[in-house]
Amino acid sequence: MSQDDPIVYVIDDDAAIREALSGLLRSVGLRMEGFALPRDFLAFRRPNAPCCMVLDVRLPGSSGLEFQRELSATNANIPIIFITGHGDIPMSVRAMKAGAVEFLTKPFRDQELIDAIQHAIGRDRARRTAERELTELRARWDTLTAREKQVMAILVTGQLNKQIGAAIGTTESTVKAHRTQIMRKMQASSLAELVRMADKIDMQTA
């Protein structure tokens, strides 16, 4: 299995459930890592691959909802599918509000779970792609000189070269040269694309 193959993490203290899930996911070609306890999962070295988590609400020691909070506090960003034997509405509302993908009551139809897992993995993959793009954009942006960053910040607000030159105290032709460098280094084919990149990078915080 390649590095990019999705992984489903399952935390359920019931071995029979873990085994059944493992068999079911294998039958649809998904890799699964099962854990009886949340701390076993935390100790596991997770590969950098799209993933999601199937979490039992009732866990020994702590509840699944608590563990969901703990995970989001560590910025783990794993989409969670809850499964429970006795789900009630307030519990499911809390879980969904805290960002759960799905809340399934046992026994559920296997297709329901598979759909939820595919959806969750899709969500994680999209997040990962966006993150990777952002990292790359940041890397490109970091190659700009301080002067170029200054020009770019004004450029994306829609000002003309002349105006930029006046603002930073240089000639229009110098600004033009900077601009060419910026477009090349950022690999932007148009000003519109550059503006979008600037939005993503969020230069204020960067």
């Binding site: 029979a16 459930i17 079911l24 006795h86």
Partner: protein, 405 residues
């Protein structure tokens, strides 16, 4: 005489009141003086009309009146005050205050009669007053009694309402207790059963997928099927464990009366039964020995059986709904408790399975009631069985040992 009559005629009450209002010794003696004076005046007038017949009776009247209105003292005073005019007008020698020897006896009679009249009158008056005050007291008492009666009636009404509310509360409590016990048990059973069930569903899904031509894998499919068998067995073990748990976990074994238990259950469910127009008859054997066991659990069993009977009869509309609870003594120290309904009865095919867990004929039943009931009864060394009742309905019969296992 005319004056006296008129006085007694319409002024008597007023005079009485007047005397009562100004009830001083002085006024009473003044009244006696007045009566004697009046008698004297009238005697003088009569003397004037009928000179030949001297009269004494007006003085008697004055004495009686004085004693009546004034009491013994003024009565005696009137006697004394009447003596001089009597001597003067009546006794020889006439028109003097002297008395001849032959008139002494007569005078003594007069005096005696006057004193007796006065005393009698005052006694009569006292008696009358006592009578009146007694009458007043009686009236007062009667009124108090009436008030007390009113308060009592109110209290009885209040108590009746309270009792009604209490009974309703008890019924509700019994229902909630039943639901809570069942609910807790059901929740824990649900969890225990759900785990293997969820596993079975997933394994079956996997098995189906491995059997698809596109990814046919017989080994994987067989593995999944084996897991299904294992998880199915696990689910049935859970049920077995629950039955064993109910069988063994009997915290209390104390003697109690089965008849009292039945009466208790009926009392708790009375409102519910009345609401569903169920006629209840009790046929309880006398002199049953107590049963030893967990009263609360057996209470639940009887409540459950009665509720089942009532629910079964909800479908009956063409005949009166009859529920009979009967206790009988059997040989060998056992007793039987039967709950008999005249509902539609149990069909032959469900008859063999009604005591199995998760078998129900009700729209919203869990199918646990009878299964748990039988476990409880068996844990007490008894039996729970169902037979058809003729012409309609079902007899659920619990047998238990008298005082012992």
């Amino acid at each position: 005489m005319i004056g006296e009559t008129s006085l007694t005629g319409f002024g008597l009450q007023r005079l009485s009141d007047y005397v009562a209002e100004r009830d001083t010794k002085f006024s009473r003696y003044m009244l006696a003086t007045g009566f004697v004076g009046l008698a004297l005046i009238l005697t003088l007038l009569l003397q004037h009309v009928e000179q030949d017949r001297p009269t004494l009776f007006l003085f008697f009247a004055a004495i009686v009146a004085s004693a009546w209105f004034g009491g013994t003292g003024p009565g005696c005073f009137a006697v004394v005050a009447s003596i001089p005019p009597a001597l003067y007008f009546y006794f020889a020698a006439l028109h003097t205050f002297a008395i001849t020897v032959d008139n002494v006896v007569l005078f003594i009679f007069f005096g005696s009669c006057a004193v007796a009249g006065g005393v009698l009158s005052s006694r009569q008056r006292e008696a009358e007053e006592i009578l009146q005050s007694t009458h007043r007291q009686l009236e007062l008492k009667a009124r108090e009694l009436q008030n007390a009666n009113f308060v009592l009636l109110n209290e009885i009404g209040e108590r009746k309402r309270t009792e009604l509310a209490l009974r309703e509360a008890q019924t509700e409590l019994a229902r909630v207790a039943r639901l809570t016990t069942m609910g807790e048990l059901a929740a824990s059973i649900a969890h225990e059963i759900n785990q293997p069930l969820a596993a079975i569903v997933m394994n079956a899904g996997a098995c189906m997928r491995w059997l698809e031509p596109a990814r046919f894998d017989l080994v994987e499919a067989r593995d999944a099927a084996q897991r299904i068998i294992r998880d199915g067995n696990r689910a049935s073990e859970v049920i077995g464990r629950i039955r064993a748990m109910v069988r063994n976990a009997l915290p209390e074994r104390a003697p109690f009366e089965v008849n009292a238990l039945v009466i208790d259950c009926i009392a708790l469910l009375r409102n519910e039964l009345a609401k569903h127009l169920v006629n209840v008859s009790l046929d309880l054997a006398e002199g049953l020995a107590p049963v030893r066991g967990d009263r609360i659990l057996l209470h639940q069993v009887v409540l459950n059986l009665i509720t089942n009977a009532q629910e079964a009869m909800a479908l009956v509309h063409d005949r009166p709904r009859l529920l009979c609870v009967r206790t009988t003594r059997r040989r060998c120290g056992t007793l039987a408790l039967a709950v008999i309904d005249n509902g539609p009865g149990i069909s032959a095919e469900s008859h063999d399975r009604i005591f199995d867990a998760f078998v129900t004929t009700k729209a919203h039943g869990m199918g646990l009631g009878l299964s748990i009931c039988r476990s409880i009864v068996e844990a007490h060394g008894g039996t729970l069985s169902a037979v058809p009742s003729l012409p309609y309905g079902t007899v659920f019969e619990v047998t238990l040992s008298e005082t012992g296992e």
